[in-house]
Symmetry: C2
Subunit: 237 residues, 2 copies
Amino acid sequence: MVIDAQNGLGAGRTARFQTLPEQIAENVFAKIVSGELAPGDRIREDHLADEFGVSRAPVREALRILERDSVVLITPNKGARVTQLSVKEVSDIFELRRELMGLMLSGLDITGNGVLERMERAVSEMERIVEANEDAPQFSEISYRISRAILVACTNDKLTEILQSLSRQTRRYTELGLASQARRQESARLWREMLEALKTNRRQDAIASAARLIDASCREAVCRLEEEQLVAQAATR
Amino acid sequence: MVIDAQNGLGAGRTARFQTLPEQIAENVFAKIVSGELAPGDRIREDHLADEFGVSRAPVREALRILERDSVVLITPNKGARVTQLSVKEVSDIFELRRELMGLMLSGLDITGNGVLERMERAVSEMERIVEANEDAPQFSEISYRISRAILVACTNDKLTEILQSLSRQTRRYTELGLASQARRQESARLWREMLEALKTNRRQDAIASAARLIDASCREAVCRLEEEQLVAQAATR
DNA sequence: AATTTTTATATTGTCGACAATTAAAAAGTT
DNA sequence: AACTTTTTAATTGTCGACAATATAAAAATT
């Protein structure tokens, strides 16, 4: 049995060389991001085991991997649930990302490692997508690619790790978050602004652009969360 | 079988209500902090299983818990090792702590929750210990108690979580780190400085004191790490 | 009828055994 | 003798079965 996906949990290993628990974790993560598994949903070990045609042992390890990123919450003797974040928690995560992003940018190493070139290509691609008004999934993908391109130049590995983890914790709400054309245009504009600032070594400007980018993303995520809560409320009533 | 320790991995649960894997994780963590298990040491599942009189299943879960805090590194099919940090990595972790501590202090809620009072008691106790020139273990303990006292007032739970995790990742090198009387005096002085700044609502001063506190701790940790590396080098030769 | 107690069911936790993989040792080859 | 290949041993990974615990349903009590 071989599952395929690369969301960063297996850290750069291709499906063929990922362990079974990593593959399962990726797969469950994908279900959470896509909404197939909603926040608060219970995750039963034997169900996953049946689904993937394995025993519960690797499934348990997969759940531990997801717990590490706060994607699921495991309660002893009660099992795992998809993590349910409050508006406060989402805001807190984005606040941290904003601050840490600033820290990362101020220490960023962009000399002779091709980072600016790779970013230029990615941002251009994003501008092309926005221009052509293509569908949202593509946009999310390119958005993450730019993020990854910067993180390569981060000089503090622990910081990289934390930023990636925080990003995953709210991916549920950012994945198709750039819904409106206006939002996508703004996003592309801010990425471009940030890139140009980096090129001309205006770090503070780059940091400001990044902060605006993250704040916009935060507002969008909070909106989606509140929508979701309304729907959940209506269903319970 | 009941093991006893409370290092924050089991998040406030007393030994009686900790799960078996949590108890094992605490115990192994204690061994790492004490130096009984050194960085790079391999950890064999069956050895731990024998030692605690359990099967490998709960041991594996314990290792996953420790991996979440980067205390051990699990490599697929090869097993777990005590995480070995480079000087760069230790510096990176402390740099993050310094920045995040600043962020925490700027948002700290110290109104009518008894935090300042609890800190005052803890800092006074520290000053007493320094005065009496008591032994180091007591000092480490009180030091962590002050940290915990502040964290209660942190308004961003995710930030609290990250700060605690980062602290544990270098505990190996900070535990008996306040060795010299001079260092302990300086530490007590800086904590006092920070507390007084908080009392009179001079946030920037509090942040500056915290930064100096962390930087001093970092220098000490790096020293200990370098000592350790020299010893390891000598042993290999 | 409402509340508690008991029983039954569902689900996670732990175990011992075996399979898969890696590391070490032995045998073979140039 | 140095290098490859094969065999052996050690260790982790997965499995199915059972134990412990929590949830749900039924029975008993007030």
